[in-house]
Amino acid sequence: MNLATINIAAILPAFVLSVFGIAVMVAEPFTAANKKSGLGWLALTGTIVAMISLIPMAANRGQWYSNLWIVDDYAIFLSFVFLLIAALTILTSIDYLRRENLNHPEFYALLLFATAGMLMMVGSNELMMMFLGLEILSIATYVMAGFRRSDLKSNESALKYFLLGSFSSAFFLYGVALIFGATGSTNLIGIAQSLRSAEIQLSLVELSAALMLIALCFKVAVAPFHIWTPDVYEGAPTPVTGFMSVGPKAAGFAVLFRVFLTAFPSIRDQWSSAIWFIAVLTMILGNVIAVVQPNIKRMLAYSSIAHAGYVTVAFAAMSDRGVSAALFYLLAYSLMNLGGFAIVAMLGRTEDKLVNLTDYAGLGARRPGLAAVFSLFLLSLAGVPGTAGFAGKFFIFRAVLESRLVWLAVIGVITTVVSFYYYLYVIVQMYMREPKEEFSDVGIPAGFKVVLFVTAAATLYIGILPTRLLDWTTTAALHVLK
């Protein structure tokens, strides 16, 4: 409890990202127009340095800065996931931005700040810090969503995201205020303690928990708080959509687990049925509506809602196995989804013209390698054994059944069958329809190649040999549930 204890190592990754973000901003005016992409590589270096700095961070486990900041396996694992997401997004963006004539290096700075925000969300042990992280993330993402300034859809996307996002932030803040009023603390462990011991107004606490739940459900886009997602995902530049569908979502879940499982376990009975209901609704709505989407970005938007539903299922298990499965799934999902979005971004052509499912007709004949990799991602998203998606789903359903939530598992697996329809439909287009000429001349830039290789290899590796990752997520989960 010593204010003077400043431990840089404990916050090093976030610190590194901020420094690199500022460096990108500062360097930008001094960079010649044709060298702007170089700043993308600088940002990528930043994420890699931040990843390396996870090692000193991991050596400083415990609570720091008057218990505001916590370094545990949970934070370390998720920080790694966020940095991986950021690195892959940067790699996708470098060529994308150049192609779209959007080569403003602020983009990379924003992305680094957003990632720093995510690291803050997962590393903080206290609601106000979490809120700060959430805002840093959100504001950076609003700008990125509207990054194609001249495009109406992109503007619509940013505005919608901004309005609804601020709304949900306000919910969160209001919840924080109420819980502070009720317990006199914004520290998660402090809240948990006073909920156990002191005589407190339970209705106030419940209201606060409900408000925070709503706010976080907005952020992770689960039903019935998902309405903004398709429009926002469709309008945003494709790499940003990819980032939004995994990064803020994973960060939102990270906070959700931490807050509810650390601070509110004593009133679990009041909110667990809400989680059950949200999970079921999300899986059904996300999967069923995805079936009828003609636009691949919208389809993937609904699919991302459905996947948020599966993570919520894991949450509903309310056990360390459940959290472990959720963390596993978040990483697996991030990899396959980023891989998929990278392909969508690459094939979209100038101004994201080719984003209808029918535009993928004949890709299998024109670009067999690309179509095969895309199929791998789609099959993994659907959950075919041997891929990361199946391993993740299996662990989730296993955790749910361990908690004896049989119906949740049954509804979950049945909605999975629905998802097969729309993922396979893309494969139908690629392999079973007459080819279009358009894709034949697309070269694969180096950045994309790296992204595709990393995500595809990881999807297969995690799918076939999940043990290592599972052990890691199991250790990480133990720190949330106490």
Binding site: G386, L401, V413, V417, F420, L424, T467
Partner: protein, 513 residues
Amino acid sequence: MDLVTANILTIITFTPAVGAMLLLFYNREHVRSIRAFALIITILAFVFSLHLIAHFDSSNPDFQFGIKVPWIPSFGISYSMGIDGISLFLVVLTTLLSPLAVLASWPIIDRLKEYFIFMLLLETGMIGVFVSLDLFLFYVFWEVMLIPMYFLIGVWGGERRVYAAMKFVLYTMIGSVLMLVAIIALYFMHGDATGTFTFSYLQIQSALASGRMVLAPSVELWLFLAFFLAFAVKVPLFPFHTWLPDAHVEAPTAGSVLLAGVLLKMGTYGLARFNLPLFPHISHLLAPLISMLAIVGIIYGALVAMVQPDLKKLVAYSSVSHLGFIVLGIFSFNVQGMEGAIYQMLNHGVSTGALFLLVGVVYDRRHTRLIEEFGGLANRMPVYAAFFLVVTLSSIGLPGLNGFVGEFLILLGTFGVSGMRAAVAALGVILSAVYMLWMYQRVIWGEIKNDRNAVLSDLGRREYAMLIPLLIVIVWMGVYSNYFLRPMDASVAKLVNQSQKGQVEYARGLEPR
């Protein structure tokens, strides 16, 4: 045990998959070498599988050639394989049909490389299903196999291929995802009862059999149904059969051969391997109902087959009928019925595989499968007509050919349970003679009415190569059935014993204590 015998199942299972990997590096222009390579790989897998027959101990009812390596140890998942008398010949059937399916794929020119990659992956999946002894591993193979089949139908199929492929996948998925839930539930129940959390089939089965793990009747019912649905769709048992005609008609010849020859057997294999030993009580309780569905399938399939204008559809519906026999045999709970069912699985794989190959032969020449387009083929294709006759008679169940042995044993076993059931099922035998012979007559005999049939050439060397092995097996299995039945005896007796114990316990449970 030497190194080969210890790992033989891994070798057989993954030889095709390794072949598929290697095919990736082939230049797609080298059509001939791609074909030859696929053929060599599948023949290699067949040769390896002969090792199983040679070293199989017929007196041992348990699983042999076992291998068990931890895979995801924290969840009790292991890479565990083994075969007994029930799965032995199903593995060999798979490896036998695969090279023939490759030979049948010669006329395919479009995206040949991908085609053979999928076919080899399919073979790995099929073998894996028959040899897995870990429920998780089994499920992985069971699901993974869908994807290559989906591509084979969807890319290289007929006109409505996309519809058929999608229907195939979704139907099978709906059935099998609930099985996954049931598998995980079994895992927890076993863990709670014994303290060991494992997906091992053998451990769970022995815990159930010994009474260390007891399932409440309602739980057993739900678990049974979850497994049953997965297998019933695959069999396909009436009324879950509607995906089959579509898939068969649209699939390329090789796809149909493997679909009918092997994939359908997975359903009946699953029933015999999982439903009966794991849930003997409910199996007995529901046996009359399931037998009823099987009999309806026998008669319905035969009647519908009779009026089909399309050769492939006719064979597809005849499969529904024949598979009904197999299910009937399995749910007779006696050695004759069970052994007949397993024998009939092999028969059906061989005869129906051969029938689809034969249909493929004329389809390659005429690009139609409508019966009315043919007639008088015996005049131009005498050898073809002769081969077709043998296979037709085998499918009908003529004594001296393989079909007879299986059907006879099944009817014998069924008669031991209920004379009525056997009598109605026997009608199916008669009906099968009607639709098969009538079809044969319309296609092969008579005058050549259609000019395009007047120029047809008889079988070529490749076609001889793909048909003769099956004809040999058809006659061999009909004349010297003991060779195939003997290795099954011990395992079937054990299986019957396991399920009868359930019957006794079930009956005892009904008595007042």
